[in-house]
C-alpha cells in the first residue's frame, strides 16, 4: 500500500482532470439544471467517459475493462469532484461494477461487465431502503417460484437510478441476503425519479412481485454479503475522493477570493481570523487526501483493515467537504448565498455526496464498532 502513484495512474489522473475540466466545468451542471434536463447529466459526456475507458476502471480486462482498481476509480472521482461532474459513474462504474464483479456468476460477468465498461447500458446498485444509509436493513424479499423467483420491496435513494437499465438489488432469500440482477423494464418494477438538492436525480425502485428467472440470482448468503460490502466500501472511498476534489476546489476559489476581495480598505486575506481558519481547513483537507487514498489503496491491496480506512475516509471527507464549502460561503459573504455564484453548487453536492453511503456521523459510529468500542 503506497501513496506513490504508478506512471499509469498518474496519467489517468492528469487525463481525467484535463478532460473533465474542459468538457464538464461547473457551468455544465448549471446548464443541465436550468434547462431542466430530465437525466440530470449529459449522455454525450457519458459516451466520452466511456471512450476514455473510465467506465471500465473497475472491470477486469477480460471483460472489457481497464482494471485500474479502486485507486484508479478514486482518481476519476476526485477529478469529477473538482468540477461537480454529474453522471451515473458512481452507480454504474463503481457500485454496480464491483457488485457484479464480486458477486455475479461467470455468466453475469460475461454479460454485464462489458456493457458497463462500454457505457452501452447503465447499471445501479439498489441497496438502501431507509432514509438514512443502512444497507443491513433489508425488507425487500424474494420467494422461490419454480426455477425462478418473485421479488418485492422498495429500494430507495439510488443515485441516477432513474437512468439505470438494470439494477443489482439486495433482498432477503431464505433468511439470507441475496443479490439479484433486475431489468428496469421488468414487469412490476418501476422507478420514481426525485430531484435532489445537488441538481441531480435519485430514484426509488419499487418492486411489485417481479418475476425473475433463475439466472437473475447473482449470489446469496456470505458471498452476497461480501460482494455487497465490497461495492459499498469502494463506493465510499470513491465518494471520499470526490468530496476531496470538490472540497479542494471550493477552497482554492476561497483562497483566490481572499486574495483579491477588499473590505475596510484591506484585502480580506490579511485578516488573521480568516487566515487561521483557512490554515485549519487546509490541514483538514490534507488529512482527507491521505485518508481517501489510504482507503482506496487498502481496497486494492485487499488488507483486512480496509473497512476501517474507508470509514475514516468517508467520515473525514464528509466533514471536511462540508467545512470547505460552508467556509467558502461565509468568506464570500452575501454573494456566496446567491445562485449566480458557483459556491452554492459545491455546498449542495458536498451535502449529497456526504450523505450517500453514510455521513460523517454514521461512519464515526461505524469506526468505533470496527475498532471494538
Amino acid at each position: 500500500m503506497s501513496f506513490k502513484l504508478s506512471e499509469e495512474q498518474a496519467m489517468l489522473r492528469d487525463a481525467a482532470r484535463e478532460f473533465l475540466a474542459e468538457k464538464s466545468p461547473v457551468s455544465e451542471l448549471r446548464r443541465l439544471r436550468d434547462e431542466k434536463n430530465p437525466d440530470g447529466f449529459s449522455r454525450q459526456l457519458w459516451s466520452g467517459m466511456a471512450e476514455m475507458g473510465w467506465l471500465g476502471v473497475l472491470v477486469p480486462e477480460e471483460h472489457g475493462g481497464i482494471g485500474f482498481g479502486a485507486v484508479g476509480a478514486g482518481l476519476i472521482s476526485e477529478a469529477m469532484g473538482r468540477s461537480l461532474v454529474a453522471s451515473p459513474f458512481l452507480s454504474s462504474a463503481v457500485l454496480a461494477a464491483v457488485a457484479i464483479r464480486e458477486g455475479g456468476t461467470d455468466a453475469h460477468k460475461a454479460e454485464h461487465l462489458p456493457k458497463i465498461a462500454s457505457g452501452e447500458r447503465i447499471y445501479a446498485l439498489a441497496a438502501d431502503e431507509r432514509p438514512r444509509h443502512d444497507p443491513a436493513a433489508i425488507d425487500a424479499s424474494a420467494v422461490r417460484d419454480g426455477n425462478g423467483f418473485r421479488l418485492s420491496g422498495v429500494k430507495r435513494h439510488i443515485p441516477e437510478g432513474h437512468a439505470a437499465d438494470a439494477f443489482v438489488v439486495s433482498a432477503m432469500l431464505d433468511g439470507e441476503v441475496a443479490l439479484f440482477l433486475v431489468e428496469a423494464k421488468a414487469e412490476g418494477a418501476s422507478t420514481d425519479a426525485r430531484a435532489l438538492v445537488d441538481s441531480r436525480y435519485a430514484a426509488d425502485l419499487t418492486l411489485n412481485d417481479v418475476k425473475l428467472d433463475g439466472g437473475a440470482l447473482m449470489s446469496s448468503g456470505e458471498a452476497a454479503q461480501k460482494a455487497l460490502d465490497a461495492a459499498l466500501e469502494t463506493g465510499r472511498a470513491c465518494l471520499s475522493a470526490e468530496l476531496l476534489g470538490a472540497g479542494e476546489t471550493a477552497f482554492d476559489a476561497t483562497l483566490d477570493y481572499l486574495k483579491q476581495r477588499q473590505q475596510f480598505g484591506r484585502v480580506i486575506g490579511t485578516f488573521q481570523g480568516l487566515q487561521h481558519r483557512a490554515a485549519h481547513l487546509h490541514s483538514e483537507l490534507e488529512l482527507t487526501r491521505s485518508l481517501a487514498f489510504k482507503a482506496l489503496a487498502a481496497l486494492d491491496a485487499g488488507t483486512p483493515d480496509a473497512p476501517m480506512w474507508c470509514a475514516a475516509a468517508k467520515a473525514k471527507a464528509t466533514a471536511a467537504g462540508r467545512l470547505s464549502a460552508s467556509e467558502a460561503i461565509q468568506m464570500f459573504g452575501g454573494v456566496g448565498m446567491t445562485d449566480e455564484f458557483d459556491i452554492g453548487f459545491f455546498y449542495k453536492r458536498a451535502q449529497a455526496a456526504g450523505e450517500f453511503l453514510g455521513d460523517d456521523r454514521f461512519h464515526a459510529d461505524r469506526l468505533a464498532k470496527i475498532n471494538g468500542y
Binding site: 430507495r156 460561503i329 451535502q351 454514521f362
Partner: protein, 395 residues
C-alpha cells in the same frame, strides 16, 4: 385597581370583541402576515378587519405618539397589550420595515413634516417600505457605498445600485443611504433619503439564492430626482442614522423566542428517520452526541436570552451583548439545520416534488447559511465583542 389593571381589563374586553377568531390562529406561512402597502391583497376579510380596527386605535404601533397615528401607550401599557394579545393568540395585525426601522428613525431624526407625512401611513398599513443600505461589493464595509446623489438645487439626482433590498419588488417606498457629499470623509458624506419606488429611474430585480426564490432584490437608481425635503436628519448624517437603526435591529434579536425552533427539531427528526437501537436509544451514537451538545447550547442560548432580558429590565441594557446573542444564535441555527439534514438522511436532499413541503428541509438549511452573514457577519460580531465587550485593542 391600578391604572394598569384597568387598562388590562379594558384591553382584554376590546380584543375579545374586536379580534376576529380567524386572527387568533398562529400565522403559518409568510402569506399569513399583513404587510400593507398600495398593492397589498388581503388574504381574507378578517385579516383586513383586524388590521383596520387595530390601526384605528393606533395599536399597530402602540408606543408611537397619537399625533402620528400611534397608540400613545406607555412601555408598560404596550407590554400589557402584548400579553393580552398573546393570551388569545392574536396575530400581529401589521408587520413592516416601516414599523421596525423607518419609524424609529423618523421619530428620532425626522422633522415634523416628515413625521406627519409618513408615520400615519405606516401605522395604517398604507405605505410599504423597504431598506436600501447594502451595495454590490460593499459587504460588511457598509459605509463604502457608491450610490451617489448629485446636487440638483432643490433635489438630488440619485444614481447607483442597492442590493439585498428585501421585498423591494413589492414595496412602495425605500429609505436609502446615498453619498451626497463625495469629498467628505467616508462616513460623513452619506445622506438618508426617502424615495418613492414609482418615481422615474427606479427599478428592481429579484435575487435568486442557493435556496431558491427569495424576497431579496437588487434595486437600481438611474438619475432619480429626490427632493431635498426627503432627506432625513441633516445631509451627511445618514451614517449615524443607519448605525442607530442597526443597533435597534440587533437588539430585536432578543425578541426571538423558543418557537423559532419549531418544525425542525433535530432530535424529533432523528427519532423519526433513524429510529432507536437495541438499547432503546437513538441508534446512531455520534448523531446522538452531536444533538445532545446542540441541545445544551440551545438551552444555554435561550437561558441567556431570558437572562439578558431580565438584566435589561433592571436597567443594565442589552448594548453590545446583542452581538453575543447574534453570534451564538446564528451559528446555533446553522448547526440545527445541519443536524436536521444529517438526521433526515437522503430524504433531506429532496429539492422539489409534488408536495408543497417537498424540499423545505433542504431550502431552510441552505437559507440558514445566511444567518451568519446578514445583519452583520459572525466575524463582525466577534470583532464587536472583542473590542466593545472585552476591551481588546485595535490593531
Amino acid at each position: 385597581m391600578s391604572d394598569l389593571d384597568a387598562f388590562r381589563a379594558e384591553t382584554r374586553k376590546w380584543l375579545e370583541a374586536n379580534c376576529p377568531p380567524a386572527m387568533r390562529k398562529p400565522a403559518v406561512t409568510e402569506a399569513d402576515a399583513c404587510w400593507g402597502g398600495r398593492n397589498f391583497k388581503f388574504q381574507s376579510k378578517d385579516q383586513e378587519t383586524w388590521m383596520r380596527r387595530m390601526a384605528e386605535r393606533g395599536w399597530t404601533v402602540p408606543t408611537w405618539p397619537k399625533e402620528y397615528g400611534g397608540g400613545g401607550l406607555t412601555k408598560d401599557e404596550a407590554a400589557v397589550l402584548k400579553q393580552e394579545m398573546r393570551r388569545i393568540g392574536a396575530r400581529e395585525p401589521l408587520v413592516s420595515f416601516g414599523i421596525w426601522m423607518l419609524g424609529p428613525a423618523l421619530l428620532k431624526y425626522g422633522n415634523e413634516a416628515q413625521k406627519h407625512e409618513h408615520l400615519p401611513r405606516i401605522a395604517r398599513g398604507e405605505i410599504r417600505w423597504c431598506q436600501g443600505y447594502s451595495e454590490p461589493g460593499a459587504g460588511s464595509d457598509l459605509a463604502s457605498l457608491r450610490t451617489k446623489g448629485e446636487d440638483g438645487g432643490d433635489h438630488y439626482v440619485v444614481t447607483g445600485q442597492k442590493v439585498w433590498t428585501s421585498y423591494a419588488d413589492e414595496a412602495d417606498m425605500i429609505f436609502a443611504l446615498v453619498r451626497t457629499e463625495p469629498d467628505a470623509p467616508k462616513h460623513e458624506g452619506i445622506s438618508f433619503l426617502l424615495i418613492d419606488m414609482e418615481w422615474d429611474g427606479v427599478s428592481t430585480k429579484p435575487i435568486k439564492l442557493i435556496s431558491g426564490k427569495s424576497p431579496f432584490c437588487e434595486t437600481f437608481f438611474d438619475g432619480v430626482k429626490v427632493p431635498k425635503a426627503n432627506v432625513v436628519g441633516k445631509p451627511g448624517e445618514g451614517w449615524s442614522i443607519a448605525k442607530y437603526l442597526l443597533t435597534h435591529e440587533r437588539t430585536n434579536i432578543v425578541s426571538v423566542d423558543s418557537g423559532a425552533f419549531a418544525g425542525g427539531d433535530p432530535k424529533r427528526v432523528a427519532l423519526k428517520h433513524v429510529g432507536a437501537g437495541d438499547d432503546g436509544r437513538l441508534a446512531d451514537g455520534v448523531l446522538r452526541a452531536d444533538i445532545a451538545r446542540f441541545e445544551i447550547d440551545a438551552l444555554g442560548f435561550f437561558a441567556t436570552l431570558e437572562r439578558v432580558k431580565a438584566e435589561a429590565d433592571t436597567g443594565q441594557g442589552v448594548g453590545a451583548r446583542a452581538s453575543t446573542l447574534k453570534y451564538v444564535g446564528s451559528e446555533l441555527n446553522k448547526r440545527r439545520h445541519e443536524l436536521v439534514m444529517s438526521a433526515s438522511g437522503a430524504d433531506g436532499l429532496l429539492w422539489e416534488g409534488p408536495e408543497e413541503t417537498d424540499g423545505m428541509a433542504a431550502r431552510n438549511w441552505l437559507r440558514s447559511r445566511a444567518n451568519s452573514i446578514e445583519g452583520g457577519t459572525t466575524e463582525v460580531q466577534l470583532n464587536i465583542i472583542s473590542k466593545r465587550v472585552l476591551g481588546l485593542p485595535d490593531a
